[in-house]
Amino acid sequence: MNIRKIGGYTPILEVQLNEGETIMCEAGAMIYASSSTHMESMVGGLFAAIKKWLTGETIAVNKYTGPGVIGLSASSPGMIRELDLGPGQSVDVCKGAFMAGDITLSYGIERVWKGILPWRFLFGGQGFFYQKLTGPGRVFVVVKGDLVEVTLAQGQKMDLDQGYMAYKDPSVDVDLTRIKGLRKVFIGGEGLFLLTATGPGKVGVQSTGW
């Protein structure tokens, strides 16, 4: 398998697959494929499908098997980042950020909110669920705009605008913070809530939000 990025602005991820090699991708990410490749759409079961839909993604994951070449694109300006996960290492990927991954990865859906009711996250702009990928394997995330990766120390906090978080380590705790002060809420330009991320761990921040 040979994977390369083409272009810099709205990049294309080109995957060359040998006979029998498989890669899994977000449904709809494919923009070209050799006719010799074989595609299969997988849905993880009804409940998982609904949860995946609520993450803002389509409900299926497509598996492409070689031989052949496929090209994937997010179809909007952004950057593609490769995350190499060791066995048991996980990453929580936010709405719209998952592009492709090795089939050796375990795939799960995780709730964004804590407690019983997700009402606070209606305003979060992040969707209700993360896609949790666990290694071994590579994950290709695509962020909208440019990417900044911030590493937080234990207990270190950072405020983020809603819709600008692309992915995070599972050790990072994310919660909503309400903006205090009527004036700030109405004319401050940030809306009602901010996300607060608490370390330890890495957070990938994108420069264009949802």
């Binding site: 272009g7 070209y32 050799s34 006719s35 409900i59």
Partner: protein, 198 residues
């Protein structure tokens, strides 16, 4: 793209692509072959021609890059409608619809608006096309086929055949994310693919 024109020199552009021009530039409309099929598809039937002296700037109005293709005499390419930006007046042009089968045309018109109409261009002359996003160019051997998502094909050599194919498998159609139809291109020739929908 900024073009400096001497007295009498002209450049032919997609309608509405002009961004700014100096006052001495003289513009006119040009009709190409396939006038009636263009009317049928609801697109504008003319291109704009700008004559110097002066400077005219052309832009597609969407993010992407401009690619220049230098066509030899007789060399023919087809460019997707939203990809055509400008060309030298020595290039011959006509419009064609992507498929000759009526059923497939109806299918395409519903699902593949952008890759329905192609500009057929024959050299000699320079052709400027606008690529949305980033750009990949692939050469297909004789008989080699490739599937391309609708809206992502920018140009192809005239020798490359284009056909609309249905996605196989009900499950793949509903949840596969690719819709009902894909474009199938068959070599020989070059194919240009863009990373954002045109």
């Amino acid at each position: 793209m900024e073009v400096d024109l001497y007295q009498g020199e002209t450049i032919v552009c997609e309608r509405g692509a002009m961004l700014y021009e100096t006052p001495d530039i003289h513009s006119d409309a040009v009709l190409g072959m396939g006038f009636f099929s263009r009317l049928f598809t609801g697109e504008s039937a003319a291109l704009d021609k700008y004559e110097g002296p002066g400077t005219v700037a052309i832009a597609a109005g969407k993010p992407g890059m401009i690619k220049e293709l230098d066509l030899q005499p007789g060399q023919a390419i087809d460019i997707a409608h939203s990809g055509f930006l400008a060309m030298e007046p020595t290039v011959q042009f006509s419009i064609s619809l992507a498929s000759h089968s009526l059923i497939r045309l109806i299918g395409m018109a519903s699902f593949a608006r952008d890759n329905l109409i192609f500009q057929n261009l024959t050299g000699p002359g320079k052709v400027f096309m606008h690529v949305h996003g980033d750009y990949v160019i692939t050469r297909l051997e004789q008989g080699q086929t490739m599937m391309i998502d609708q809206g992502y094909l920018v140009f192809k050599d005239h020798s490359v055949e284009l056909e609309l194919v249905r996605v196989h498998g009900l499950e793949n159609i509903i949840i596969g994310g690719e819709g009902l139809f894909l474009l199938q291109v068959t070599g020989p020739g070059y194919v240009g693919i863009q990373s954002m929908k045109g």
